[in-house]
Assembly symmetry: C2
């Protein structure tokens, strides 16, 4: 290995099938809450925080722009934590736990059982010890359900276990005004409790969005342990119905939600059955999606295998219930990025699903199609034809408050189109085209044709955009954007049987695709990230504070030759067949040293191309940065939630990077580049409905 | 004339020495309040509004960025209206005027007496008529003093005249969230009354900035008319002392302010003397600054002469008390642009002062020097050496909440340097250099040397800036910026005896000035507004809604070839000696059709260059747009205050445009281009301490 294990193994003992934390100092509570979150794609619990997250359950607010302008995003959206029904308060001999001291804690999240367990040792003020054991399952097969058990061993003392009186949800103000990556603040919004609730049911509503959530509980006790079943229900809403402005409304009558909660509780089988269901669900997941590695060093072997499975487990937790909602950048593990859906969903998470669990991938794409109406309205607001997907959103409306690094990233449209095509390649399931896929391709193609223009040089240009590299804003002819737009146009042309484009439109799209400008600098022998980039001033070597975005004014960053995250290098991966190996080598050699990696979306892509161009050690180093981004808190913000795109990136780095997998219209090829010290790498892929097993060994082709 | 008189002369009868409004319909109250504002550079009254403005008296607030970033402006500043001590409430036979109806009103603002008079006819609910006559003087020779008279003729009925109970100043929320040109909103701020006040004195304080204002009154009555003397005093503050953040504080003890108010009232001579003082002040002003025109058409003659004098009178009112504060973009006539000081001060208002009233010009430049400390701190926040003046400010801190059209306009530094040099040229008064002028030149030169960089082509480039054209943001090598930076560097070198620059610095500045990149397109035969502009897509002819900024998203505007206001054309004026006439003709022919004139700063400059390149009719049309911008409310926002830069622009269009005046180091030359139908144009200039009279006749050189 080219890097040292970044984890303190006294604290995080290695285990290939579980994450275990032996917390002696009990600090870093927020980091640990994220790592040990239990979620099932609909509900997510951060143990010990008192809060849970429900996918799609969000507050809206009017974005207050410090200086207004026409067409800026108006509807802020933020995922709102709800009270965690699995949280308890314990008292021993009438002494509240708040007056006791926690002396040690062990948490164990098992990747096969899908159960989190926690053992805590406490000390009463009079010196007596007691122990609390609690377990959690977020039922992967039952989105609305979680179950927890709790037992207290106090050597015969009287023990009281009560539901945690819910913290005032309105007082929760996630966010940090100075870090744009944290959750934004709802102004005048928040959660309010509706009605008095009952012993089993409590209802809440967001003040602005009017979305409601109901939480219900049912308890069972066998004398030593209490088992609590917790169900959640939230107002369903259709993104396509969301009008502009603060028009998200919900049915005033929440009795249906109460019914849903009660039914989920009544239908819930016993704990043993739920545990069996959970284990079975995960057995199927690992059969489809596990990636196994063999390393020469036994200690590295278990460390890397554990981290890989931790990342894959996070993907399982975040994508188990697709369709009704999107996949937030943090899953349901925290409020970072306000619970918004970005391109992370299509380019970093969907590849894993499309090649291991295509039915779920299809549901995610169907969800994007449900947002098409809002995207068409947004295009119209920007005087564009077709559809312009929002850079970040929950309800389909653009929620990016800073357009140079938001709405200007038009490439999200091409990213979504890319994911549609990738699904088609992986599955051969053309029924998606009639089911919304073709409409996505056509409406985004229309947008590109209108956004760009024919210049005097006879080429088609796209000006005033921001590519993936947010350290270069509002540039002309971003290579990634133009090349991905071309791909988008061609996919739309290929799907012509399934949408309403006219012959004239199809001809124009073909003309544009053939003539779109893709910059290349003859002198430097590299492709140009954009029309300005290669002429920018080098970043001053003295300015080493990281990440740049927290230490330098955007004006300082924008005018220098510095890259936040893989941009042109991402094109080298996604559109690899459009480049020769020599071009990839030259481009990577030029751009990689300029890349700060200030985005967690960067390392995996850098690893993939480093592997392809033969930079094995570098590839492994970048892979390590992606692999441990959350476990070792490499970006110092895992407290806000796991970096789910990086989790998807870990899978990509293994499969597309080290195994060198490329897909040409469903024909899968491999060009393996295992890092030094790796004996083998194996995984399954599901292509064309068939699951196949792939094993790669060092210095050997596919067996 | 090439344009029709835009004013309804039934409503605004023409008068060469007064603005008169005969209001039959009594609508457009806000527009009329602006036109008839009375001000003296320190205090400004909008008759009938109940509010007054005091220069420099501002509230601060933390700018809430919808999405934060490092180094963004943090301290919002907004001029806060204070209660108008000249406002009364009248009752007749116990019936409040609020229950009566106004049937007609005549306002007359006399440019020689400096007095506003207003005659109103009212009707009681029982049908009886009464009349109110009120006059106002904002004493031009006594900044802290205004005087008003009021008399009510009610045919013997009982009349009560009381001070208007001040509206709650805290309830004043200027601004319109959707128009960035209006005043911004203080969040959690505003004015509060301090103490109970006395019959003669009331005190107020801004909740955040802690600046205090005291208003005092003294009444005299002769039985038929009431005369009220009104004085104001505000906390003095030194821009250089303002620390970052909300650190503007004031002395808790406002007794000194009360003393100032009382002394001003006690020292005030009688009304007759004040009227004489006012008339004498204006006589001197008109002797220095009047511009007289003779047109062939008698009706056009009086219309144009009246409008010119109205504009010059606004300049008189806004610049009578320079030094303690800057000159807001709206003078003290309204809250538009939050009462901020911009480059308007240096490039559009100071030329008038430097060539007609140099002592006042010197005070304005001294005021800019007092802000140098804050500008040095701001440079440091942007990792720059030297000083970076804020794009907009009251207290010296950057108050622009949208950096692409704010802080990115680095050119304000060169604009200020230009004004310093222009003052030196006009006066020969090199004592300003030792008195701060040279320090301004040196610190701004340092900023430019650090902002740009040496590229491989051996040229010095400045990237990532916004020039005067705010419809092209964050561009590279804006011609105006680079050429003005060169001028700035050369002025700093010329002033080397008076500042601390090292020989190495001076050598580097000279090297940069000689090698700074100034784009020229050989194919088009025009200078390039910036590195991107000439390759942009033409603005879609279908998109004709104006101003663009209120109807199109910035992304739409930025990527097209469309110009908000003279940018390169402004360089053709300010740096005219650097261009041949043929170049000016080619550049103007290219850029003028692309210029929307959505900024009121544009028309005057367009008129100047149109005149120079021989486009006489066009020059006159643009001149008309500048001349009537406020009188005819051409931009539909005169209600927010007069466009003072346009007033200065009117003087420039006459003197630099139609008379073709250019200054080469104090050597004045003229190249007159009188519009068709203009018989003569005459004005005085004060150059090198000598006042000279200049008269130009159609088709004749200077007599």
């Amino acid at each position: 290995m080219t890097w040292a294990d970044p984890l303190d193994r006294g604290r995080f003992p290695a285990d290939e099938w579980a994450l275990v934390e032996v917390a002696a100092d009990l600090v870093s509570g927020d980091h640990s809450q994220t790592l040990f979150n239990v979620a099932n794609g609909y509900l997510g619990i951060r143990p010990g925080s008192g809060f849970a997250f429900l996918n799609g359950f969000h507050e809206t607010y009017r974005i207050q722009h410090a200086e207004n302008a026409c067409g800026l995003a108006r509807v802020g959206q933020v995922i709102v934590p709800v009270p965690d029904g699995t949280a308890f308060q314990v008292a021993v001999d009438g002494v509240s736990i708040a007056d006791c001291s926690l002396t040690s804690r062990i948490r164990r999240l098992d990747f096969r059982s899908g159960e989190l367990s926690q053992d805590e040792d406490w000390k009463l003020p009079d010196g007596r010890d007691f122990r609390i054991r609690q377990t959690w399952i977020a039922c992967l097969a039952r989105p609305e359900l979680a179950v927890t058990t709790i037992s207290v061993d106090a050597d015969g003392a009287r023990v009281d276990i009560a539901a945690l009186s819910a913290p005032d949800p309105g007082s929760v103000t996630p966010g940090d005004a100075d870090d744009p990556r944290k959750a934004e603040m709802p102004v005048g919004g928040g959660l309010e409790r509706i009605g008095a609730g009952s012993e089993r049911l409590s209802a809440y509503r967001c003040r602005n969005s009017r979305l409601a959530a109901v939480v219900g509980t049912r308890d069972e006790s066998d004398g030593t342990a209490l088992t609590r079943y917790v169900s959640y229900a939230t107002t369903p809403f259709a993104p396509d119905d969301v009008a502009a402005g603060l028009a998200v409304t919900c049915d005033e009558d929440i009795s249906a939600l109460r019914e849903t909660c009660l039914r989920a509780l009544d239908d819930a089988p016993g704990l043993a059955v739920l545990r069996d269901e959970q284990r079975a669900w995960l057995a199927a997941f690992w059969e489809r999606g596990d990636v196994r590695v063999e390393l020469e060093s036994a200690s590295e072997q278990v460390a890397v295998q554990q981290a890989i499975r931790f990342e894959l487990f996070q993907l399982a937790q975040a994508t188990a219930a697709p369709g009704e909602n999107g996949i937030p950048a943090k899953g349901l593990s925290g409020s970072g990025y306000s619970g918004h859906y970005f391109w992370d969903q299509e380019l970093f998470i969907l590849p894993f699903l499309s090649y291991t669990d295509p039915d779920r991938a299809r549901e995610v794409l169907r969800f994007r199609h449900r947002m098409l109406g809002a995207a068409k309205r947004r295009a119209s607001e920007l005087d564009l034809a077709g559809a312009l997907y929002p850079w970040r959103t929950i309800n389909g409306e653009e929620a990016s408050a800073y357009f140079p690094a938001g709405t200007a990233q038009y490439h999200i449209c091409a990213d979504i189109a890319y994911a549609v095509q990738q699904y088609l390649n992986a599955t051969g399931d053309t029924s998606l085209l009639a089911d919304g896929g073709a409409e996505i391709l056509a409406e985004t193609a229309r947008m590109w044709a209108d956004l760009g223009f024919w210049a005097d040089d006879g080429r088609f240009h796209i000006h005033g955009v921001t590519g993936p590299d947010e350290y270069s804003a509002l540039v002309d002819d971003n290579y990634y954007t133009n090349a991905m737009a071309r791909h988008n146009l061609r996919c739309a042309i290929a799907a012509r049987q399934h949408h309403d484009a006219t012959d004239a439109e199809l001809a124009e799209w073909a003309r544009i695709a053939d003539a779109i400008h893709l910059g290349y600098d003859e002198q430097l022998g590299v492709h140009a990230q954009d029309a300005q980039f290669l002429r920018r001033e080098p970043w001053p070597t003295a300015n080493q504070r990281r990440p740049l975005l927290l230490h330098y004014h955007p004006l300082v960053i924008y005018r220098h030759q510095v890259v936040k995250q893989a941009d042109l290098v991402l094109a080298l991966h996604l559109l690899g067949h459009e480049f020769t190996l020599a071009e990839k080598q030259a481009d990577f050699a030029y751009y990689d040293p300029l890349t700060t990696g200030d985005s967690t979306l960067s390392a995996a892509t850098q690893a993939i191309i480093a592997a392809e161009v033969g930079e094995s050690e570098l590839a492994e180093r970048y892979f390590g940065q992606a692999l441990f981004v959350d476990l070792a808190d490499l970006h110092h913000n895992t407290a806000d939630g796991v970096h789910l795109a990086s989790a998807g990136g870990v899978w990509l780095a293994l499969v597309a990077g080290f195994a060198g997998m490329r897909d040409s219209d469903g024909e899968i090829r491999f060009d393996p580049h295992l890092p030094p010290g790796w004996k083998s790498l194996s995984f399954s892929l599901t292509v064309g409905g068939e699951r196949t097993q792939h094993v790669f060994s060092q210095q050997a082709a596919e067996r």
